[in-house]
Structure formats: C-alpha cells, structure tokens
Symmetry: C2
Subunit: 236 residues, 2 copies
C-alpha cells in the first residue's frame, strides 16, 4: 500500500485545523475588546451547525455552486442578532467571516505534515474554497503542494465528483490517493471510490458537544491519534 500511494488528500476543518478552538479564541478577544459578553464557543458551534444544511442545498441541486466563504457569510448573518453583532458594519463582519482563513492547526498537524511532505504530494480535499485554504496555509505555514476539493470540482463532499476530480487533477488513480480525515463519513465516501484511507481521531473537535467520530468505525487502512502517528504508519 505504501508504495502505491502517491498523494495524501486531507480533510481540513477538524482534521488539519481546530476550527472550534480557533474561532472561540479569536471571538473571546473580540468580545472583550468590543464589550460583548457572549458564549463564543457556542457561537462557533452554532455557526458550524449551519454548514451542512447550506451545502446540502447545493448538493441537492436546489442551488448552483456557491463557494464556502459566501455560505459562511450568509450563515453569519443568521447569528448576528443573537450574538450582539448586529451593529457591526460590513467591513467588520467580513473580517469576522474570514476567521475561517485564520484557523490554527492542531499541535500535531505541522510536525506530521512536514514529515509526510518528503514522500508524498500533500493536497487539501476540503469543502473550503481556494482563497480560504490558501490564506489559511499562508497564515499557519501549512505545506500544501496543491489546493483541491470543493471549488476546483464545483461541488461539496461527499459528492463523488469532489474526490474523483481531485485525483484526476493530480494525474492519479483513486487507489494512488489516500484520504486523511477525522470523519468516518468522509473516509467512507472516499473508500467507495477506491481511495486508500487514514483516520485521525479528533474526539475534541466539537468539545463537549461532540456526538460522533469518537473512533474509527471501519477498518481504515491507517488509524491514528495524530498526524505524527499517520507519518509513523507511512514510514516518514
């Protein structure tokens, strides 16, 4: 298996970066500065909860492809009243919306990825749009060789075309690609198309609110608790 795999394709939100912690930390500071006393971790969770329904509207064909930055902005608009943000101007709200461009990696992410990059092509296979993933990589030194996924394929995971188009852009067959994700559903979709699979356990992605993905639900090709364990398993 190790010889056959040429590229590792990564889920990003939750697998590579800690969206809950990053948004909570930044909004805690924002709340203090702007004197808005709210539960900003709940804000992060509420914002994230609007993510799947917004994408489902596109996956189902009800709506044409819209990139994630715009979906996030629309969803943020649904939260401003409840979180005391309705007095902010467009510039300030756009800055908050771009917190997704500033998400920070888990502590093990960069040490693992900088080992993996020596032997594999590393590409994002995320529902994030290109600008978002590129900005995040610039912000946190994430060593992508290529940014793929939703926008380049004009769809949203777990649609088949997002996985297949990404492999195709790298000139690879599905079995030469390994999907790396903290979400069993993502790996399930990738495996059905022939991808190899690596599961990273992230039981704190949602904090106390986590309800799923506490463990590997299938015999994924690699199962680990960190990106460095994935690197260990791949002899990097």
């Amino acid at each position: 298996m190790k010889q056959e795999v040429k590229a590792l394709l990564f889920d990003v939100f939750g697998t590579v970066v800690d969206w809950r912690g990053s948004i909570t930390r930044e909004m805690n500071s924002f709340g203090v500065t702007h004197n808005i006393d709210k539960d900003w971790q709940q804000f992060a969770l509420d914002w994230r909860a609007l993510y799947q329904p917004a994408m489902e509207n596109i996956r189902s064909g009800n709506r044409g492809y819209v990139k994630l930055d715009e979906l996030h902005r629309e969803n943020l608009a649904l939260l401003v009243d409840g979180y005391g943000l309705s007095h902010l101007d467009a510039h300030q709200l756009n800055h908050i919306n771009r917190v997704w461009h500033r998400l920070q990696p888990w502590a093990d992410t960069l040490p693992g990825m900088y080992r993996l990059r020596k032997n594999f092509v590393l590409a994002s296979l995320s529902n994030g749009n290109v600008e978002l993933i590129v900005a995040m990589a610039k912000h946190s030194a994430i060593p992508w060789d290529m940014v793929l996924g939703s926008e380049t394929a004009q769809g949203y995971k777990p649609q088949d075309k997002v996985y297949l188009h990404s492999a195709q852009m790298l000139g690879l067959k599905p079995e030469q690609c390994m999907m790396v994700a903290a979400h069993n559903d993502d790996l399930k979709a990738a495996r059905l198309l022939g991808f190899k699979t690596a599961y990273i356990n992230r039981p704190y992605e949602y904090g106390d609110a986590q309800t799923d993905d506490f463990e590997a639900q299938e015999s994924w090709d690699i199962i680990g608790d960190s990106m460095t364990e994935i690197a260990d398993a791949l002899d990097c």
Copy 2:
C-alpha cells in the same frame, strides 16, 4: 501599486525554470548511457517548437482541452525517428516525456521566490497541467501557494479565461494580481485584462536560437534581470 498587489502569478517555462538547459543536460546523459549521439539541445528546441502549434489547435476550437503532458507526448512521438529514439518502449518514452516535470529553476529563481513568498501569494499561471507543475515544484522546492493556469481554467494562454479564472480562484480582482513573465506577449495579454506586470529578462532562454524577448517591449510595472531584482523592486 505594491500595497494593492496581493498575489504574484508566474509564467513557468522560461521564466521560473530553464527548460532548454534542463532538457539538454538530462538528454546528454541519456545519450551517453544509451549510446545515441545527437544534438540534444536541438532536440529540446525542436520539441519546444511544436508547443505553440499544438496549443493553437485547442485555442482555435479545433480540438477540446487536452493537458500539456499529452501534447508533449504527442509531440515527442514526432521526434523519435529523427533522434534515434524509435526503439524505446512506452515506459522509456514516458520517462523522457516527464523531463518537463523535472525542469530546474534558474539560479536566481528560488532565492527570489523565497523572499517574495513572505509578502505575496505565489501562484503558477502556466500552460503546464497541474500534475506537471506540482511534480516540478516537489522536484525543485518551488514554493507555490497554489497551482493555477491552463488546466484549472481549461484553456491555454494567452486566452483571457486563463488569466481571469486564475485571479477569480484566488478571490482577487485582476489589479490585485501581478503577472511575472519573461515573455512580452504574456504580459501584454495580462495587462489588457487589468493585471499588474513584471518582466524578467531571460535573453538566453533559447540560447543562440533566441529570436525574441531580449528586452521589455512596453513600460511594464517592474522590469528586472532576475527574480531577486523583482523581489528588490517589491521591497521583499
């Protein structure tokens, strides 16, 4: 201008890498090993001469989009008889075809780009396909933040859509992008669409066979003799 520009988009063949020198060096070694005595610099020039006609066939609409790896392979097939390569098998010819994945940067390229990457998003805007540009970057440590251009836009420069789609994928307006190229025609097309422009003089790209691009033919925003001079001009 410097404040407005967010991303530098680079022509690759001739601007970032020395295709003539790289192919000549590799084929000189190949010729010695395989006992084939040919002028391998002429081979590189002949192969490159078939590049524009092959793309023109696609730009004109005579043929649907085909990625550059395949055009290179078709063009190589036209040269095998004249260069004593007709006895090679498909595996060997595919290895030769992938010499384009192993092109080496000019001596000033990496020192300049590693300075520029601190302040700008660096993206390829090449006629090379994604697999080719990613493999080349891996081979020579070229620090792309994103690989764009021909394949992601499904066209070939100087078609407008290749420039415009690339800017759009980065979430930028054309005037926030600077095209960096050693070819006046490439910059001319980019400028007409609103891009900023940087010219790098590469008067030896074709060696003694060079017939054009000995100097800047318009008042490009930046004009330099190396990637490090471009970095100087952009205060990096």
